[in-house]
Structure formats: structure tokens, C-alpha cells
């Protein structure tokens, strides 16, 4: 049943977001700390368990795979509903602070990989 997969994805999502909220509260900040990351880890662990039990097959996987493949369309919709106008017109300082550090990030990335790659 396709809904089993969807429900599995949903339970991972809700639990992960909950952990993120709790962690945020625990740290005393008004933000969700890694909710999506925890959700992903939960889903990966559930996948391992289900594969071992032989339940990871057929329609169940399709229910999750649909949203996996919907990812790029959702990102396109997200890009189209960003406040691009205000980002571009929020002044030269915002443009500089938004762009220059990104280049530092790109420049530093190979250094990090070189020094810490297993």
C-alpha cells in the first residue's frame, strides 16, 4: 500500500521536527535546530530496519519515492516564491554581505576537503 510509505515518511518528519523544536527550546533559542536533519536520519534508520525485515518493497517505497522525486519541482516553486526583488534592491551593503562570503566559502571548501577527506 502506497499510504504505508507515505505514513512512514510522515512519522519520520513529525518526530524529527519535534526533536528539532525540543532541542531549540532546550538551548533557549526560538528556532528549530536541525529538525529536517533529524527527520532524515530517522527515515534512514527506519529504511535499514525495514530492509532487514524484508518489508522495504513495492508500493511502500513508491509512496516515499514520489516525494523524493517531487523535490526539484518543489524547489522550483520555492525559488519562484522567494522575495527576489527585495533581495536585489535591499542596498549595496546587503548585496556585498550576501555575495562575497559565498566566494570565501567556495574558496575554502577545497582546503577543507583536502585536509579532512577520509
Amino acid at each position: 500500500m502506497i499510504i504505508y510509505g507515505l505514513a512512514l515518511l510522515s512519522v519520520s518528519f513529525i518526530l524529527g521536527q519535534w526533536i528539532g523544536e525540543l532541542l531549540g527550546k532546550l538551548l533557549g533559542i526560538n528556532a528549530n535546530v536541525g529538525g529536517v536533519g533529524f527527520s532524515m536520519l530517522i527515515l534512514m534508520v527506519l529504511k535499514e530496519v525495514f530492509e532487514r525485515k524484508g518489508w522495504w518493497k513495492g508500493d511502500l517505497v513508491l509512496g516515499i519515492d514520489f516525494w523524493n522525486k517531487m523535490y526539484i519541482p518543489v524547489v522550483i516553486a520555492m525559488a519562484a516564491s522567494l522575495n527576489v526583488k527585495s533581495a536585489i534592491s535591499s542596498g549595496n551593503l546587503a548585496l556585498l554581505v550576501g555575495i562575497i562570503p559565498v566566494f570565501f566559502g567556495f574558496a575554502f571548501f577545497p582546503v577543507l576537503l583536502k585536509n579532512f577527506k577520509q
Binding site: 523535490y71 519562484a80 577527506k117
Partner: protein
């Protein structure tokens, strides 16, 4: 015509599916026929999405891009945080838990280094611009991290609303810059494996930008980048208004 508008108005999300579908079809056609597949169709589609976002703001003066135009409001729902996060979690389907665990240390390390790079360079640029008070410097540096860390930090420190708006603007520019530059630089910087994608998510942090940039580079890398990037905003909200602010205060007061 009135009837059609009524149907469109009542079924926003479905209209969103249709619009994104048409945009994707067009983008893949452009990629294949005009650009000889040198730039992936999804990268073009995401870029065109940004252009639509700009046009939406231009014509309506609103804050939600194209979805501020009434008939396109479903695009905003489809691209909103609920569906975005749900779809990102679903990409974990293609990720291997073992690979994530093996690169976990590199991912966490890159998170800390990433926040340091963006905060420090943001503060330095604002300083060079002539800003001297630690609250504004800290808020702008936080805005260089993500468009959420900026206002959270600004609110916590009591920054002026102009500075908070500026920090949101900087964070948005960063998201767009990462989206556009990731597919262009990916090969050059060695962004080609699950481990490197996890480190990349940690360095860049903006989950929307990392996710969109990796989607345009190689969709297989998306879950690995996303799994670390999602911790960035939380970590930034934690250390920017506390530790980093204390350090700035020591320097500037």
C-alpha cells in the same frame, strides 16, 4: 472565463503543479535544443523560478514572489516550508546511513567552520562600510549566515529595524548566490561525492540554496548536503547572538 478563474482560484495547489510542470517542460526543452544539454534543465528551471520571483515582487510589491499574484498563489504553497521540508526528508531515501555516519565528523566540522567564515566576513564587510556598533555588526554578520539567523539575532540584541531588514536582504542574496554558483563551481571545487556534499552543506548552510544548488548540480547529492545544512540555521541562531556577540562587544566597546 469567469468560471475558469473560479476553478483556478479554488484549486491553487493544483494550478501550482501545472505551472511548475510547464516551466520544467520549457526549461528542459531550452536545455536540450538551445544549450546542447550543457546546463541541466533543472538548473534553468530553478533560475527561471528566481526570475519569476523577481517579476512577482516587481509587479505586486509583495514579499512572496510570483505567488503574490492571486492566480499563482498555489506556487507559494507548493514551494512553502511544509512541502519543501517534506520533500527534502524524502530525499533521504537515496542516501545511505553508513555514508552519512562515515562523513559525520567532516559534516559537523564544516558546519562550525562555515558559520565562522560567513559571520566573520559579514562583520568585516560591514566594518569596512563604516558600521561600528557591535549590535548592528553582529546582526549583519548573522544575516550573512542565513536570512533566519539575521533577524533572530537582531531581535535578540535589539537591533534597529533597518539593520534587521538589511540582514534579511543579505541572507536572501546568499541563498540566490549559492543557488546560481553551486552548479557553476561544483566541478572546480571537487563537489562530486556524498562526503563532499555533506561538507558543502555545512560550509554554505542556507538549506534552500544548498538544496537548489545541488539539485541543479547532481540530484544524487541533495540528501547529503541537506542533512548537514539543516543544522546550520539552528547553530547560527545559537552562537551568533551569544558567543559571537560577546566577542564583538569585547573588541568594540
Amino acid at each position: 472565463m469567469e468560471e475558469l478563474l473560479k476553478v483556478i482560484d479554488k484549486n491553487g495547489l493544483i494550478v501550482g503543479f501545472l505551472c511548475v510542470g510547464i516551466l520544467s517542460l520549457f526549461s528542459h526543452w531550452v536545455s536540450k535544443n538551445l544549450l546542447k544539454s550543457k546546463i541541466p534543465g533543472s538548473a534553468i528551471a530553478i533560475f527561471l523560478g528566481l526570475v519569476l520571483g523577481y517579476l512577482g515582487g516587481f509587479f505586486t510589491g509583495g514579499t512572496k514572489g510570483i505567488s503574490d499574484i492571486e492566480i499563482f498563489k498555489g506556487i507559494g504553497f507548493l514551494g512553502g516550508s511544509m512541502f519543501r521540508d517534506f520533500a527534502i526528508v524524502a530525499t533521504a531515501l537515496g542516501a545511505s546511513y553508513l555514508l552519512v555516519k562515515r562523513s559525520g565528523f567532516l559534516g559537523m566540522l564544516s558546519l562550525v567552520i562555515g558559520i565562522l567564515i560567513f559571520f566573520t566576513s559579514g562583520v568585516l564587510i560591514a566594518f569596512a562600510w563604516g558600521i561600528r556598533d557591535p549590535v548592528s555588526l553582529c546582526t549583519i554578520g548573522a544575516g550573512a549566515c542565513t536570512y533566519i539567523v539575521g533577524p533572530v539575532t537582531g531581535a535578540a540584541l535589539g537591533a534597529s529595524s533597518e539593520v534587521i531588514a538589511l540582514s534579511i536582504g543579505a541572507g536572501l542574496v546568499k541563498t540566490i548566490a549559492v543557488t546560481i554558483f553551486t552548479p557553476l563551481f561544483a566541478k572546480k571545487i571537487g563537489l562530486d561525492s556524498p562526503g563532499s556534499a555533506m561538507a558543502f552543506g555545512g560550509i554554505m548552510g542556507t538549506s534552500s540554496g544548498v538544496a537548489a544548488g545541488l539539485a541543479a548540480t547532481d540530484p544524487k547529492l541533495v540528501p547529503y548536503g541537506a542533512v548537514t545544512a539543516t543544522f546550520y540555521t539552528g547553530l547560527g541562531c545559537l552562537i551568533c547572538p551569544s558567543l559571537f556577540y560577546l566577542i564583538l562587544e569585547l573588541i568594540f566597546v
